[in-house]
């Protein structure tokens, strides 16, 4: 569509031209402050149950599971773990009680097996089901022992399954899944259940469409609080109603529930400043962890298949100085039973409430309508700058005498694109080639060095000022479009990318000024602060600080090892974070970096 209007640079108020940089910086910092402000009680909303059908399950309890029963099950499981035939033990326990149980071989050299049982509901023809997942082994954060048997979680899952077997009110089947190798086993089981991979061996039994579920990770026999983990793949989150149900149940049974091990005491005992600090920590950890695209438990795999699920992790941390005894068995079973009966009562899939939100504590959240504003403020300078550049093209084209006439259509402004596209192509090719190298932190440093010296080795970008502006214009539009799309898919990642890219844009734009000091300063900044690896290290340090909640020294070894494990595990999760970074963000950064080496030519050579 040709534009009839001529947007001219003289339309822009002169004062704006003068204070452009201030305005952009102002937008950027207001955006950052706005994001921090999300934790304030004025912005956040108190959560509520949107789906009424969930509430009856919260009321009364019907099941009683005795301590002896649990102890008996744990005893059997323990021998199973010891003799490495845990899947057989679980299957025989199911079969003994007349519940159908099946095994699935993972088809690898380890010979591990997934076990699952299906408690059939008498009221329905197996069209819908609820799933309870208890991974056989659970990752725990201790140096000596990275994984531990999920004894308590498996025992409770089994006990609840046995108790709900043949209950007349059950209208949905309950699948009890015990995956081996955590995420790997879960993924193989899900692939087989939905038959998404044509070569996977189909399962022996199915239970209709799985509505929602719960993952139980309780490696310790005693626990003092429950940590809720809800991060899914690529920043996906479960429905807020599901989380609220669990939080309600926890509150009812007075079990302290936390996110990221940060417990906010919502009673008036706590100081307001503590409340704010904890809320901010939760919010920031939320953003930082969701940006990675890696789930915080096996539930992430289920979210991918539209099965709403969160992980309950039994934490050993005491949340209150008066809390002396661990959580009772009865209270814990009440949570699972209440949850299952709420879901059993549900007529439809989870569709109400929110799918996009940030938790700032267990009772308050920020919805998408609110948290999109800070990102909008951060990205706005890119759009304004591109408009200003666009308008300035007309002014300059008025001065130039010649107008291109191609195919009978008058061009608005003439431009020789060849040098620009050569530059873009060069940068893309180089960055893609470098990203082809296997992801290792040491390799990444080599890549960075290659990128840094490439303008010296290869011919730097030479063009007139207008061509340079045009390149900037294209980069600004690409960048803002990328961030806009990303903000809808994975907000946290878009936010971090915006925080990184926007200063890059600014300093790349500044390099237009011819003074050599400015040029060297910009290059220096790109080498130091605006370097992706430095940003990564900064990100890692900040995340560690927030997780620990106390001052830590930066640890380079920790960074490299964390990065390597992340790269190793990330393929498993169907995540695309690294792909987006490698294919979009790094090339844009590289182009911006190379534009600081721009050499002005007064006349276009090709003309």
């Amino acid at each position: 569509m040709p534009l009839l209007s001529n947007l001219l640079a003289k339309d822009i108020p002169q004062t704006f031209q003068k204070f452009q940089l201030h305005v952009y910086a102002g937008f950027f910092f207001f955006g950052l402050l706005g994001f921090v402000y999300l934790m304030s009680p004025i912005v956040s909303r108190r959560n509520y149950l949107s789906e009424n059908a969930l509430s009856p399950g919260l009321v009364s309890n019907d099941i009683y599971i005795s301590n002896e029963h649990i102890r008996d099950i744990i005893g059997q499981l323990r021998t199973g773990f010891k003799e490495k035939n845990i899947s057989d033990v679980i299957q025989s326990m199911f079969v003994q009680r007349g519940i159908e149980a099946y095994k699935q071989n993972l088809e690898d050299d380890t010979n591990d097996e997934n076990v699952y049982g299906i408690v059939r509901a008498p009221r329905l023809a197996s069209t819908e089901s609820i799933i309870l997942v208890a991974p056989l082994y659970v990752r725990i954060q201790s140096k000596s022992q990275p994984i531990k048997a999920n004894l308590y979680g498996i025992a409770h899952t089994l006990a609840i399954g046995f108790a709900l077997h043949r209950k007349p009110y059950m209208a949905k089947d309950i699948i009890l899944l015990f995956p081996a190798q955590q995420e790997n086993g879960t993924r193989i089981w899900l692939d087989a259940y939905f038959n998404t991979k044509p070569d996977s061996i189909p399962l022996d039994a199915h239970a209709g469409s799985i509505q929602a579920g719960l993952t139980l990770e309780f490696p310790h026999e005693k626990f003092y609080s429950i940590d809720l983990r809800h991060n899914g793949i690529n920043g996906q989150l479960p429905n807020l109603d599901l989380i609220n149900t669990v939080v309600h149940l926890c509150d009812k049974n007075s079990i302290p529930a936390s996110y990221y091990d940060i417990y906010v005491d919502l009673s008036s005992n706590e100081l307001f400043i503590d409340y704010m600090k904890k809320s901010l920590r939760t919010l920031l950890i939320n953003a930082l962890t969701l940006a990675t695209g890696v789930p915080s438990g096996v539930h992430g795999q289920f979210l991918h298949y539209r099965i709403e699920m969160i992980t309950l992790f039994g934490s050993l941390t005491k949340r209150d100085q008066y809390q002396t005894s661990p959580i009772t068995l009865r209270a814990f079973d009440d949570i699972i039973e209440g949850f299952i009966r709420s879901l059993n009562n549900l007529l439809e899939r989870f569709h109400q409430s929110f799918f996009f939100y940030f938790h700032i504590n267990r009772r308050n959240f920020v919805s998408i309508a609110t948290y999109m504003v800070p990102l909008g403020l951060i990205v706005a300078p890119a759009l304004i700058r591109s408009l200003v550049l666009y308008m300035s093209f007309f002014t300059s084209s008025e001065t130039s005498a010649t107008t291109y006439i191609t195919l009978g259509r008058t061009m608005k402004f003439d431009m020789n694109y060849s040098a620009m596209f050569l530059e873009i192509l060069e940068c893309l090719a180089l960055s893609y080639v470098l990203m082809w190298i296997p992801m290792k932190f040491t390799y990444l440093i080599i890549c960075q060095i290659t990128m840094f010296i490439s303008p010296i080795l290869l011919r730097p970008f030479r063009s007139t000022e207008r061509q340079f502006d045009y390149l900037q214009f294209i980069l600004l539009l690409t960048g803002s479009a990328l961030l806009g799309c990303l903000s809808l898919l994975n907000y946290s990642m878009a936010f971090l990318a915006a925080c990184f890219l926007m200063p890059c844009y600014m300093f790349a734009g500044c390099s237009k000024f011819d003074h050599w000091i400015i040029k060297y300063f910009c290059r220096f900044l790109f080498l130091t602060c605006l370097n992706p690896l430095v940003f990564l290290a900064l990100y890692h340090y900040l995340a560690r600080l927030l997780m620990a909640g106390e001052f830590l020294l930066p640890n380079f070894n920790q960074l490299t090892s964390d990065f390597d494990t992340y790269i190793a595990s990330y393929r498993l999760f169907n995540a695309w974070t690294v792909d987006v970074v490698c294919l979009a963000i790094v090339p844009i950064w590289f182009l911006l970096y190379r534009s600081t080496f721009w050499i002005r030519t007064l006349v276009d050579k090709t003309q």
Binding site: M1, P2, L3, L4, S5, N6, L7, Q96, R97, G98, E100, R120, P122, R123, L124, A125, S126, T127, E128, R166, P168, F194, N195, T196, P202, D204, A205, H206, G208, S209, Y305, R306, L347, E348, R349, H351, Q352
Partner: protein
Amino acid sequence: MSNFLRQVKITQPQLATFLQHQCRAEASTASSTGVTQSGSIVLDNRKAPPPLDADRMRMHPRIGNREIVGYGLKGKPEYFDLAMFPCPSIRWEADTAEITALRKKEQGDWKQLSVDEKKRLYRASFRQTFEEFCAPSGVWKWAIGWTLIGIAGLTFAYDGWRRICYRFDKPDSMADEKLKRQLEFHIAARQGPMTGLASKWDYETEMFSTKLKSCLILILLIHCCSTNEDVYKEELYIRPLASGHTYFNLLFTTVASPDILKSNIVHHYHLFPKVIADIVRSNGVSEFHVSLTQGLWRYDRWGMPIVGAPPGAEVWAWFKSDEQRDVASRWTSFAHELGGLLCASLNFVASNVSSSSPYYSFRPQSTLPKSNGANLDNSLLRYAALPREIVCTENLTPWKKLLPCVAGGSNHNGLAGLLDNAPKLYNSDYHSLRMDFRQICANTACTSTQLELSMALAIVVNTATSKPNYNEWTFRSVFGSNVAQSCPLSSLTNVYVDLQLSSTHSLNITPEPDYSIKQGTTPIVIYDLNSDQRKSTTFAMSCTHSKQPTSNTDSSSPPIVVHRYATGYGVRDGGIKTVIKINEEQNKNQITLLYFEQIPWYFRVFLHTLKITTLDDDTTEIKPDYISYTPGKDRERSYQLEIVIKTDQSIVISFEFEMAFLKWNEFPPDPNHGFYIPSAVISTLLPSKSNYILRSLNSFSLNQSLSSWSDGFVRLYSESLLVNLPTPDFSMPFNVICLGCTAVALAFGGLHNLTTKEFCFGPKRAQTPLRQRLQDLRVRLMASRRALAQRLFKRTPPQQQRHEHAE
């Protein structure tokens, strides 16, 4: 006394009674002593009347010279006859000379007075005696008479007014034709066959006759109609299952003469339910099947049912070819009527959208003479399934009412008495109501036919106890009651217990069975409840079975098991995989499988993705012998797929579909629940016929299928599937519409302006000083004020207006 009255304040009634007492007391003392008392109240009759003076005339102008003798009732001088107050204040007659003389005489000894004189004296004082004025007068006749006349007059007046004002027509039921039909209906329905209207009808001459002879004929006629052709059988089949459940199947079979389906005659129904016959006759149905099921039959754990059923509702019907109405309209009205009868939403199956006509899967069940059933093409068949239908007591109650021993109401005799406690029957893992209507051969040569209506209730009850591998049940624990009495109408009441578990389990059944037979290798014990010793007693049964620890599990897996599931995720496309597992140990030869699938139109099935492979190796494809595929049409027809496969090993049938995006008003109220795909139907002939109790094609009654070899025909139903279609967010449609419209308007407006208009700078407006602007404002304000005033006071006098004009 007057002093007393003055001093004491008493109420009026108290005063009246007081005065009465006083009056009597004074009269008694006066009569006894004859002493005149002075007082304000004069009660003394002996006192001479006061002279007729002017004062008296002025005060009491009406009484003439009649003597005032006392205070009277109210102190007024008036005469009355009152039984309550017998002493009026004045005398009746005026004082004549005669009376005065008599009075004087009265002062003396009363013996001097003659009777006439005494009477005269009495009459002078009183008009009537007590007897006279207390005598009934008969006024009530007059009063009632006139009231009735008044009511009648008003009614007539109202009727007349109504006729004038409204002019009602007679209801059409009062028309002669309708009256006649009503009469015919009464006669046909035998209203009061002995004493009522129908007893006056001569059925031979089709006229009313008052003769006694015709009544006798009528009785004979009724007797002839209820000949011994109608047969009703009740059976209960019990099979303890290895999975800790027990399968109960109550079977009720009615066989009737086909005459009840003939039109244009007066029908008589003995044991056959009239409603069913009406539905069948009016829609030209030759046979039908309907089942309402809750839960899923688990073939892998429970073996084979006698007759299978899919979850939800399933109906199919064969129609007669020689009727005037087309099959589609008959199917619609049949499904509506049947749905109304069973309280099920069968009206949803009626449209072509959800019904289909498979070629092979549902051939007629009727056993007709060869000549009749030769050319039945599938256009006469309609099949439909409603997987979402929920079955409850509201379906059981009308279904139960069709049974002969329940229809009467209170006396639920026989095995039907077990159905009384409905909640118990629904507290089961599988609950299936079924009704089949078909024609069967009346004799072995099949020269004539009979109608068979088979109704069955199958439940699978969880009988496991807390003790592992130990099952226990009684009639009372399963049904809530025992069999109180046998149904007098049933010709057969049997209870069969299938003991196929006895090889691995120890069974203990009380009471002792009457006899036992062996069906193939399966031992069956039988109780005959119609036998003499059980006929009048309550029949209670209890059973315990426990697994013997030595026996191995799964000794007999079923010969064929179906498992179906949906594949894929997301709302764009998906697929269905059906696994048909054939027990290869039992089966050495090839068997023929008939696979039928009916899929709603919003799942767009692609035939090219249909893949039939063996279960073990998904690369070896099996070529089906026959494929019939009817592509669906949006909102008109569902997809139908029918495949015939010959195989000797387990197979997998898979195909893929794409999901349609429905119009917003086509979504149900709960769109996020998902949409159902009905069960696939697999029909086959089992290779090893002997081991399973199945119904035979000759009869639904087990009594016959047990005695003859079962032909091994089974129909297996797979799971129904629940798939989520792409669904818009209905929870906030308003927000979505508002937001969408705003976004479109903003984007469109901007783009439109940018592309169609050219912006340019206009000349700058000359700046006016502030004072000038203020002055302008003042002038404008004054002008508007004047305009307002003119509008408000439009009716200003013309003079003023003129004045204004002049100004």
